[in-house]
């Protein structure tokens, strides 16, 4: 005979103001099997938990129902309390009478009725609950970092520092990300390469860190502590282990007209290339779309030049499989394409550039060796107009609804650097709002105005028209003067909105993590768990989670590393015992469950069965790997013969709840 206890929480006034908690306790006391039914102001408090524990011992309870907040909030609290009183934690049921009841109803009578019904359903379910025991699963002591920008590099360095092995998977031929392309960095104006390249080298030399460059993740299986990841090492047609990075091949390659992506297409590179001098790993890569040998079969210059015989035109993509305990996503961002913003003439004039292009134009290692020249005629520009918020804060499908956060600061940086180096150049910045919160950030922007005399104009550019004399007519509004201006400019620089990398969405699907509508990865809690994803064992680092500058990126990168290290330190983790199991006698081997299982937890085996007529027969039946099953329940719905059932949420338990609600 079951002996069930019911405990109704007031949650201060959160529940009690809309639900008559005493009436709920009274109504539920008459349910079958209920031997005690009480209410209390804060059931989760220490005294509330003691009340539950005492009742379990005093009444020798075989199951309890807590009518309180969402199980996401306190199910664990009450499971622990039950365990402390000697009751199996899986004999605890929560009826959510806060989020699903008091918070969404206004009328006390309706809310109370609904609370009683929810309580009855939980009582009906707990009658059928069985004690469950959690299993332990070992933790693989190795981490994977996806993306090798400053975020990924910092995370990997910190994890390695703690003594764990860590792999970086970077899709480009080199690590470094956007920071490698930036010239100087706000707010201190130190050179990006000077602070980044030592970190890249440190990552390459650290024996705990293994870099898979020019590689992508193609499949993820498993779960926290035990992920199996397939990595595609894309063919670079150069043997990484042999290439010394001497660069002779890149000097001799006759195919010299390939747009150089590292310089944002502002100059050309050869078909075999090393993205930049400080690339890590410093290994050449052949671009098969341009290589003459691969397109026409005639050339082979690089292969003849290479003294170590590293060139391999026949190299194939290679798939490798690795096991990891934790995964950190650090896939970063990209500026948006500006093809929907015709008014700025970006695709009509080479003198209209994005801010990232300007970084390359000003960089000592860029196409002009660091001298700022107008792209169209390589002349010194005398008037430059900056436009902020291009595609940011847009309410239509052309742009992004959010503030890109970094552009106010880098525009102030660009304006200041230009005024410093070329005092004869007039610089205008059109802004909607200048957003510079952050340590020493507003002071930085004010310096641009006060010390460098950059003309900040409150207003927006409406139209840029290339003129026949090569100049650009910039038509804009000056809202404070209530004027429409025309500025005769040599160059226009657009602070384009930033967006997550396009590969982020398919990656999120592989990792079963969540993204927001803008494809930024979603943190488990916006305030309290900012570097964890909602999927256990997957952490977030850098601009893939939201727009960020370098200081913030690095802070988040180290935070994500700390969380990953916390996981890797454990020898094993407790698994959820609410997993699927198949009744072999009912299973007809149809494979429906195997097809729907997102975790690959189901396998089929041939088993011998004794038939009623004393013969034996071999039948194909499903079996669930409890260490892999995440208890999502997809298979229980798919199974046509009702053989699959989820422990803790069995078909009969759910039917009992439905019956109790419909009674």
């Amino acid at each position: 005979m079951q002996r069930i206890g019911v405990f109704v929480c007031h949650c201060g006034t959160n529940i009690a103001a809309t639900v008559d908690v005493k009436a709920v306790a009274e109504a539920l006391s008459h349910e079958p099997g209920v031997v005690v039914s009480q209410d209390y102001q804060y059931m989760c408090s220490e005294s509330g938990q003691n009340l539950v524990k005492d009742a379990i011992k005093e009444h020798k309870l075989t199951g309890i129902v807590i009518c309180s907040c969402s199980p996401r909030m306190h199910e664990n609290t009450f499971r622990k309390a039950a365990a402390a009183a000697g009751l199996n934690p899986y004999l605890v049921e929560i009826a959510n009478v806060r989020e699903q009841c008091s918070w969404i109803h206004k009328d006390i009578a309706t809310a109370t009725d609904k609370a009683v019904i929810l309580g009855k359903a939980a009582v009906a379910k707990v009658h059928l609950n069985a004690p469950l025991t959690s299993m332990e699963s070992p933790v693989v002591k190795r981490a994977l970092v996806i993306g090798g920008g400053i975020a990924g590099i910092q995370t990997a360095l910190d994890i390695a520092e703690a003594g764990f092995d860590v792999d970086i998977v970077e899709k480009q031929p080199t690590i470094g990300g956007k920071m490698a392309q930036i010239d100087k960095t706000f707010p201190t104006l130190d050179c990006a390469a000077c602070i980044l390249t030592p970190k890249m080298v440190e990552a390459a030399q650290n024996e705990k860190i293994h870099i898979h460059s020019f590689s992508e993740v193609t499949d993820v299986k498993g779960f926290v502590g035990n992920f199996t990841v397939t990595i595609k090492k894309k063919a670079r047609y150069v043997d990484e282990t042999k290439c010394t990075g001497c660069g002779l091949c890149t000097e001799k390659c006759p195919m010299k007209k390939v747009p150089n992506e590292f310089n944002m297409g502002l100059d050309n590179r050869t078909a075999i290339y090393i993205p930049f001098a400080q690339a890590v790993p410093k290994v050449a890569t052949i671009d098969p779309n341009y290589c003459l040998m691969m397109k026409t079969g005639k050339c082979g210059v690089c292969s003849k030049m290479c003294s170590v015989g590293a060139i391999d035109y026949k190299q194939q993509d290679q798939l490798i499989e690795e096991k990891y305990g934790a995964i950190v996503v650090a896939t970063g961002f990209n500026p948006i394409k500006l093809d929907k913003f015709d008014e700025f003439a970006y695709s009509h004039s080479p003198d209209v550039v994005t801010s990232l292009e300007l970084e390359r134009l000003m960089n000592a290692a860029g196409p002009n060796g660091g001298t700022l020249l107008r792209p169209s005629d390589k002349k010194h520009p005398h008037t430059i107009v900056f436009v902020q918020c291009v595609g940011s804060r847009c309410d239509d499908e052309k742009g992004k609804p959010y503030c890109s956060k970094i552009c106010c600061m880098y525009t102030a940086k660009h304006a200041m650097l230009i005024r410093e180096k070329y005092p004869d150049t007039e610089v205008y910045v059109f802004y909607i709002d200048v957003r510079t919160p952050g340590k020493n950030f507003d002071e930085f922007y004010r310096r641009a105005v006060e010390q460098y005399n950059v003309h900040y104009i409150k207003g927006m550019v409406g139209k840029v028209t290339p003129k026949s004399d090569g100049q650009l007519d910039v038509q804009a509004s000056d809202l404070l003067a209530n004027e429409q201006l025309h500025i005769n400019a040599d160059m226009v620089v657009l602070a384009a909105a930033i967006e997550p990398d396009k590969t982020a969405r398919p990656l999120a699907t592989m990792l079963t993590t969540q993204m927001d509508t803008n494809d930024f990865f979603t943190e488990a809690h916006p305030k309290l768990r900012p570097v964890e994803s909602a999927t256990a064992g997957i952490f977030l680092s850098g601009a893939c989670q939201g727009p960020k500058d370098i200081p913030e990126t690095v802070a988040q990168a180290s935070a994500a590393a700390a969380k990953a290290i916390g996981l890797l330190c454990k020898n094993s983790i407790t698994c959820n015992p609410c997993v699927a199991q198949s009744d072999e006698l009912m299973c007809n081997g149809c494979s429906s469950c195997e097809k729907v299982c997102p975790y690959g937890a189901i396998t089929y085996t041939d088993k011998e069965f004794r038939m009623p007529d004393r013969t034996t027969a071999i039948r194909r039946v499903a079996s669930v790997n409890p260490a892999v099953c995440q208890g999502c329940g997809a298979c229980t719905v798919a199974c046509p013969s009702g053989a699959m059932d989820l422990k803790g949420f069995s078909n009969s338990q759910i039917m009992a709840e439905v019956d109790a609600i419909c009674k």
Binding site: E343, C389, R393, C394, D395, D396, K398, G399, I432, K458, G459, M460, V461, G462, K463, Q475, A476, S477, L479, N482, Q484
Partner: protein, 127 residues
């Protein structure tokens, strides 16, 4: 602040002036800017404040070309041209009488004139 007029303008324009973030791109893009006493972004702001009568008295309402450049480029989807049009409509309705009579049309037609222009003119100059 004329609440009744404001509601009328908001309803007939279908625009949500509260979405404006005061960037001024509408006025930056407006080809008729120099002709106007009040500019597109000011229309949006003054309608929000309910200061409609001042706009109705201004010649600016007849200077808008309905070219929709501002509607196309406003990053917030405010549709300023529709706001200008709605204020003009409010002025027209108060004055009474149509400025364009259908029987006059055949005289005004010429082969080059797109049909769209006639439709726009009707919207603009009749009640």
């Amino acid at each position: 602040m004329n609440k009744y007029l404001k509601e009328q303008v908001l309803r007939s324009s279908g625009a949500n002036v509260l979405k404006c973030m005061r960037c001024g791109k509408c006025s930056a893009t407006c080809p008729s800017y120099d002709e106007m006493e009040y500019h597109p972004h000011q229309f949006v702001y003054m309608v929000e404040k309910g200061d409609i009568e001042t706009l109705m008295k201004s010649e600016s309402i007849y200077k808008c070309l309905t070219c929709f450049a501002c509607v196309d480029r406003c990053p917030r989807g405010v549709e300023p041209a529709k706001v200008v049009e709605a204020v003009r409509l409010a002025a027209e309705r108060q004055q009474g009488g149509d400025r364009l009579v259908p029987t006059d049309i055949p005289e005004l037609l010429d082969d080059e004139l797109p049909q769209q222009a006639i439709v726009t003119a009707f919207r603009k100059y009749t009640k």
